[in-house]
């Protein structure tokens, strides 16, 4: 290929890349400017892509419209706990599947796969009945159990492939040196797949953070409701018609921030985790 041709390819690639970035970023930009635009300027014609009016009033009104601090705390506890529980249990299960040969392990793995395919809405009613009997309704613990059970199978599947990439000889050498099972598990195997665990922690956190169905159904009051439920509750004054885009945008911005912070914190781990699977 001549120089002219490769330059054209490069320009095309960059143009396509820019278009992709624009399509990805624009909704976030729009949410952000909507959150700081006065309500009556939101639907200006022509649209204000670069607004000259800025206000924090939407955030103030949003925080007054729902019990914001309680919902934020619940969201954090719910997402962090679901993510931590699912990643911890998945690591243990994935290690067992990857390293221990036992009867029916393949069938069990397939069952996990089936449970991923099952839409959560189909299990919500029996789960609600069960929770009612054991006193887990309207409790974050109950929601964490439900959410963890939802995301654990997928996490197990992902972690198995990472654990299998770790040479078993390393663990055998540790065992010869006298290391016990727990020592091998947490001091040898775990550090080697930290990037994968970190990546799954972030992915599961985002899944839990954005989850609506379980909090909508299982949470009855502000003790357990999350920000996603808050998004369904913010409303226009005195009407169920229309959407309060100003308040919803403000709440969305608040909801996006923790995810961005978490991704920035785990950035290196995520990149390592995502690229490690590509190279053997």
């Amino acid at each position: 290929m001549n120089l002219e041709g490769s330059r054209t390819n490069l320009v095309t690639t960059y143009v396509l890349f820019c278009v992709y970035v624009f399509i990805t970023i624009f909704p976030f930009y729009w949410i952000f400017i909507s959150s700081v635009t006065p309500k009556h300027k939101l639907f200006s014609i022509p649209p204000l892509y670069f607004p000259s009016y800025f206000t924090a009033e939407n955030f103030v009104r949003m925080a007054g419209n729902i019990p914001f601090s309680a919902y934020l705390r619940n969201s954090l506890v719910f997402a962090l706990s679901s993510s931590a529980v699912s990643v911890f249990l998945s690591f243990l299960a994935a290690y067992a599947f990857a390293r221990i040969r036992f009867r029916g392990s393949n069938v069990l793995l397939l069952l996990f796969l089936l449970s991923i395919a099952l839409p959560p809405i189909t299990t919500v009613i029996p789960l609600y009945e069960l929770y009612g009997r054991v006193g887990l309704l309207n409790k974050i613990e109950g929601m964490v159990i439900a959410m963890s059970s939802l995301i654990t199978p997928f996490t197990i599947w992902i972690l198995i492939s990472f654990i299998k990439q770790v040479p078993a000889e390393i663990e055998e050498a540790a065992a010869i040196d006298g290391a016990g099972f727990l020592h091998i598990l947490f001091r040898i195997a775990f550090p080697l797949i930290v990037p994968a665990v970190g990546t799954m922690f972030v992915i599961n956190f985002i899944t839990g953070w954005n989850e609506l169905l379980y909090p909508l159904v299982f949470a009855v009051d502000a003790r357990s409701k999350t920000l996603t439920v808050g998004l369904t509750e913010v409303a226009l004054e005195s009407t169920a018609y229309g959407k309060p885009w100003d308040l919803m945008s403000a709440l969305s911005v608040v909801m996006i921030i923790p995810v961005i912070v978490l991704v920035i914190i785990f950035q290196r781990t995520i990149v390592e985790g995502l690229t490690r699977g590509a190279i053997k």
Binding site: F43, S44, Y128, V229
Partner: protein, 410 residues
Amino acid sequence: MRRGLRFVVLSLALVVVLFPGFGAFGEEKISVAIQSFAHEALKPFIEQFETQTGIKVTLESMPSSGTDALTKLTTYYRAGQSPYDVVSDSDEASPAFARAGWLEPLNDVLPADFFEDFPPSMLESEKVWNWLDDKVYRVRHSFEFGYFFYRKDWFDAMGLLPPATWEEMVDIGKKFTAQGKIGVEDALSKPALLYVYVAYLTLQAGGNPFAFDEGFKTAVKFIHDMIYEHQIFPKEALNKNYDQINEDYMNDRVAMMRQWPYFYSVTRGNTEWYSEGKAEIALPPRGPVSNASWAGGWGWEIPKFAPNKEGAKKFIQFILSKEIAPKLARANSWFMNPRYSVMAELGDEGLAKYMKWYSDNNVPAPRPYHPRVAEAQNIVDDVVSAYLIGQMTLDEAIEQGKKMMAELGE
């Protein structure tokens, strides 16, 4: 002695920590679920109720959309439980709940003369939507119907009167379109909004949108003609929601528009734009049969599985009484309805004047009923949308709609 005192204090502290509800032992309480925007208005009346009855009331927030509320409540009721004693519920959910046997009849709760306070149009609507086999399962506290807003200032300047018929609306619309304005607009996006307008016009044409009858055909053809033949209705409205058409209106682009009552306060609240005559209300233009505007709303119900049904019944009696309901309507327009007692309290204040005017002229009509209303509305949305964007002919749309409705069943 000191050790004994310390023991007692520690024991009490332990009881309080381990059993947080200990102090409230024996206290009767109920939980009332309603959208958060109504909480402030309800609070003074709840205090009054608590003082009168000794029943403690906890207000809980519900999702603002009927479909989210439906998801939430269906799970509770299907599981034979309810965390709430009283629920403010939507038309989309309540009839199905009543048919499933998940709601408590309210006949014994309401005074014998209770429905004498209802004008015929509201009573008819209540019977269609909230009564089943002569049992009352829900009573609407909000009763909302579409109002016909128009630019009186522009009409006056051109020496025009608001249209009394569809034909006049078309003629006047053309005059405004010639000036670069939008003659008539409504939000026609899916889901639901297109259905709202189709049902509105179908009633005026004497039909039923779920039957895909002649009235339906006339109404949908009329929308099509307004868009393509008369060009007084923008095709872009097929992708617009209420916020967008409201902005069109308040950016001085629209001459006439059907909209829900909240638009009254939206226009008055836009102080930079609003002045007298910019959002006047007229009676809806008459179609081939009537000038009806269908009414829907949210209402109080008691789940069969409510933990404290007796307390809930006392609350319903209190909040729907002729003494409290009018005061509540004054506190928040979401509780406004054409009950005689409410209208007497509100007089000619704001939107109440127009609600009474519409009610006196028998404009409010029962919302078209279907036992599976949300799904039935989606069918109407789908086939009408396909016709309006040219994917099928009107006859094909009607045939398809009838087929889908038959498959939906009851």
